[in-house]
Amino acid sequence: MSDEPLLAVDGIEKHFGGITAVDGVEFEIEEGTIVGLIGPNGAGKTTTFKMLGGFLPPDAGEIRYRGTDLQDIMQPSRAEKSYFTGSAALVAGLGGLALASQSTPSTAIQAGAAAVGAGAGLGAYRGQEILKTRHFGHKYSRPFQVSRAGMMRTFQITRELEGLTVFENLLLSPKNQPGENVLKTWMRFNSVTETEAANHERAEEVLDLLDLEHLRDEYAGNLSGGQRKLLELGRVLMADPDLILLDEPVAGVNPTLSKTLLARIRDLRDQGYTFCIVEHDMDVIMNLSERIIVMHQGQKLMEGTPEEVQGNQRVIDAYLGG
């Protein structure tokens, strides 16, 4: 386990119709580093990002987080599987019952039909997985499990939850909130109030850290572009992930704020967080990253330190065309 990097990307590909968006990219991200992902428009950065977050299944290759394939991370839990199986069996059983009750109202036949129906339901559930794989082209699309496993992403165009206040946005992200089980809330479990109090405290800290206290109760929909970027980072910090995927963290943020933001990211790196950043502002990416991966036309063009990348003729050509 120890020699496995935090994130390993191995020959992933993605095709949309006839267009190849990502074509056999591979790289690794070590724990506690900041890695930049750059490339001219249409290089496939965003598509790669989506695949890392579990939002888009790769057509080929695999992504391993702490040695486990993302597709396995996203597998439904045993409880969920039995819940679906049970429901499918119940529907089929009821169907059998209804059918039988119309022809011969003999109890034995009804019970038999219900049993057959239940069996058919179980079978249908097994079949459903095969159908899913075949029709949707992927096994499981449940990216929330990737996030729970400790890898979180932000969005390029900020997607705040506009109907929630800044504070609520922050409170939303911590993992394992007992209050998200409505039964525990109704029964007034102590853990609900305790966790909520702890989260409140942490949210206040994050507000302080990002200089957003004055906007605490503002609806996120009313924030400026830069403030949204900050809030999005704050939301990720609240969840305390190990690997943070940042999509253009400083686009639209004013220079002073963006300096603080970058300083925060460096501090966090020193505390052991790992970052993978897509960013157009070259000054930012060159100053921040330890390693840079350059993509061009769906492929990895090169990988190296900022100095190596800046001096590389192929990279310059990729950017300037020709």
């Binding site: 209804a98 059918l99 119309q102 022809s103 159908l131 029709h135």
Partner: protein, 298 residues
């Protein structure tokens, strides 16, 4: 064998009735990007206007049908001008609620005008002509078709062809398809999207009005809920064909029409559940092939 064939023929007749409604609904769905829940009421209105023309004023049935075509088409324009123009940028949810409100409103107006009781069109009864009678070995087969059935299928196909020609030959028709393809590019190209929308409402309404006339001709009875009763089947046809694709809707209408009639053959399912059967097909399509048969193509 005779029964199965007869059911298929009935399915084709029923498919022809929902064909026009499906095309209209699909056009509006594709071009305006919302589901028109008032479409059923357009059908009902078409039927009742046919009734007014044929029974109340004693006009020939086809003149009454033309009235339904024109009147419901004009109603479409009115709705667009009064209600929908201010909602061009509204979310699909607002449009959805709007059309639901519109549906309740229109149905109430129909009830106030024509009452809640069943009305009959009172077209002369006719005995169906036996077609294709004969036997193969020990199987007899034979189908009954009335001249009304033939008129329905013929009229539906004529109007569907007319719509096809409109969509492929005229500047307005092509603009409608262009807008369904890509609204912002249509604006960039200088297409007057506002007018295109109004024309779409008019066409959608006119087709639904005629569909209502066909429905009245086939069943002979009219009641305020008649359109609502089949609007789900129309939705099923549209979704099966692929939303926004009028050609898909044409295929969808016939498949749903036939499937629904043939579903009577399934043991244990009574004929009352025909509409529910269409609904089941729709759910299956939404889950496993949400882009429909046409797959987003025209």
């Amino acid at each position: 064998m005779a029964l199965e064939l007869q059911l298929v023929v009935n399915g084709i007749v029923f498919g022809s009735i929902i064909l026009l409604a499906s095309i209209g609904l699909s056009l509006l769905y594709g071009i305006g990007d919302f589901a028109n829940f008032a479409h059923g009421e357009f059908l009902t209105l078409g039927a009742f206007i046919t009734f007014a023309g044929y029974v109340t004023f004693g006009l020939p049935i086809y003149v009454a049908g033309l009235m339904a075509f024109l009147f419901v088409g004009a109603l479409g324009v009115l709705i667009d001008r009064i209600l929908m123009t201010r909602h061009r940028d509204s979310t699909p949810i607002i449009l959805l609620i709007l059309t639901i409100g519109l549906a309740l409103f229109l149905r109430a107006v129909i009830r106030l005008q024509w009452g809640d009781n069943q009305r009959t069109l009172g077209m002369p009864l006719e005995r169906g002509t036996e077609l294709l009678q004969g036997s193969v070995g020990w199987i007899d087969y034979g189908i009954r078709i009335t001249s009304t059935d033939i008129a329905i299928v013929f009229l539906a196909l004529v109007l569907a062809t007319g719509t096809h020609l409109f969509l492929t030959r005229t500047r307005m028709g092509i603009a409608m398809r262009a807008m369904s393809d890509n609204k912002s590019l249509a604006k960039v190209a200088g297409i007057d999207t506002d007018t295109v929308m109004t024309v779409t409402w008019a066409l959608s309404g006119a087709l639904a009005g005629t569909g209502g006339m066909l429905l009245a001709m086939q069943t002979g009875v009219l009641f305020p809920r008649m359109g609502f009763n089949i609007v789900l089947v129309v939705f099923a046809a549209v979704i099966l064909g692929g939303i926004g694709s009028p050609y898909g809707a044409m295929i969808g209408a016939y498949i749903i029409g036939i499937a629904q009639e043939v579903s009577v053959m399934i043991p244990g399912i009574s004929a009352e559940y025909r509409y529910a059967f269409a609904f089941l097909i729709m759910i299956a399509v939404l889950l496993y092939k949400p882009q429909g048969l046409a797959g987003g193509r025209w």
